[in-house]
């Protein structure tokens, strides 16, 4: 439905003004009710839903918080972002397309929490080759601060042959080490940070 702005003109006669004004009245109601409760209904003006079109990284004005939809460079998928004044965009919905549990320490998953914290989780072993876990693999979102890291023994195939006690060490934004009292203890881990 077309909408005509800047009418009626000063020299319009009434009969000429009425049709575009009437059409504008209808168009406003039709467009408004796409996402909102329409005129003359309960809760008129409230949102029924919010349809976010694909957009750029919008920049909020003072004391305003924005929500918008943008294709993430990391995942190539539409993500819902929020952004506060003076802050960076936070992709509320972003996560690595899930990779099923694997014994490959390089194939871990990650996702964002709504507050902006980044969670990564995966599997590795405490042997000398695999005890250093790279938290900031190329193409993954990066920690800029040292995260909290947790480890739990397990994840092997079959019953465990031995019990080990795991201690993490040298935790940094980009990696951590896992050591144990016996060799080659498998473990699952997760980290939370910014």
């Amino acid at each position: 439905m077309p909408y005509t702005a800047d009418i009626p003109k000063p020299d319009d006669v009434v009969s000429a003004s009425q049709p575009p004004l009437r059409e504008n009245t209808n168009t406003i109601a039709t467009i408004f009710e796409v996402d909102h409760q329409s005129f003359n209904t309960p809760n008129a003006g409230g949102h029924k839903k919010v349809t976010f079109n694909d957009g750029p990284d919008y920049v909020p004005a003072a004391t305003t918080l924005l929500m918008y939809n943008k294709v993430s460079a990391l995942t190539g998928l539409q993500q819902l972002y929020w952004r506060r004044t003076g802050g960076d965009p936070v992709p509320i919905t972003e996560a690595r397309p899930y990779e099923a549990f694997t014994h490959d320490e390089l194939h871990y998953n990650w996702f964002y929490l709504p507050c902006g914290l980044l969670v990564k989780y995966g599997f590795s072993w405490t042997n000398p080759r695999q005890r250093e876990v790279n938290l900031n693999q190329p193409g993954f979102p990066l920690y800029t601060n040292t995260p909290y890291v947790f480890a739990s023994q397990g994840g092997f195939n079959g019953a465990p042959a031995t019990f080990g006690i795991i201690r993490l060490s040298s935790i940094a934004p980009n990696r951590f080490f896992a050591n144990s009292n016996i060799n080659d203890v498998p473990f699952t881990w997760f980290s939370i940070g910014i």
Binding site: K9, P114, Y148, I165, N181
Partner: protein
């Protein structure tokens, strides 16, 4: 530009009426376009973005509505007869994210669950234990679930001891260790996380 409400008046002359209507016809799409795809565009009426303007008070949800609003600098969600949940705040003591400190960080999940996480060191060789405080900006009203994971600052400090949690309360929990480990002279450090309401 002004948006005229309840205009034109019955006594307005035609030229006055035309001016007010004309200005409204420009002002309405201008304001509408701040958040929406505008008239005469593809997907008109849908949102480009949602700009939430700072509210100084928590608005009240009514009936079956659910509110999403901004109380600067944070985003809140509120359902009827419930407390608002801050989605975006990370409590960072001193404004700094602290992974290694006696203090800790906390935040809320969208469901309202409260998460505290911190890093602590057991230094009392006599009791082999420590009490970790959960007192903070988001107090638990029920006992949370607590998880711990042992760590150390340097890779050479690699030998692990056994640790476990006990006496979990709403505002604290305790951790015990079998330390001192005869192979290690350093203190026992651990990262912890608590989840609850």
């Amino acid at each position: 530009m002004t948006y005229y409400r309840n205009e034109p008046k019955s006594q307005d002359r035609l030229c006055v009426s035309q001016k007010k209507l004309r200005e409204n016809s420009v002002e309405f799409p201008t304001v509408f376009a701040s958040n929406h795809r505008n008239f005469n565009q593809d997907n008109s009426g849908t949102h480009k973005l949602l700009a939430l303007i700072n509210q100084t008070e928590d608005p009240e949800a009514v009936g079956t509505t659910l509110l999403l609003y901004c109380k600067a600098p944070d985003l809140f969600i509120k359902r009827v007869a419930s407390d608002p949940v801050n989605w975006t705040k990370i409590v960072k003591p001193g404004g700094v994210f602290l992974p290694f400190n006696a203090s800790y960080n906390s935040f809320k999940l969208p469901s309202g669950l409260i998460v505290y996480m911190g890093h602590t060191t057991i230094i009392d060789r006599a009791t082999r234990s420590i009490t970790v405080s959960l007192a903070g900006e988001y107090p638990y009203t029920q006992k949370p679930y607590v998880y711990i994971s042992q760590d150390a600052r340097v890779n050479t400090d690699r030998y692990a001891t056994q640790i476990y949690t006990y006496d979990i309360e709403r505002d604290s929990f305790k951790v015990y260790t079998t330390w001192p480990d005869p192979r290690s002279a350093v203190a026992v450090r651990f990262t912890w996380i608590a989840i609850g309401v």
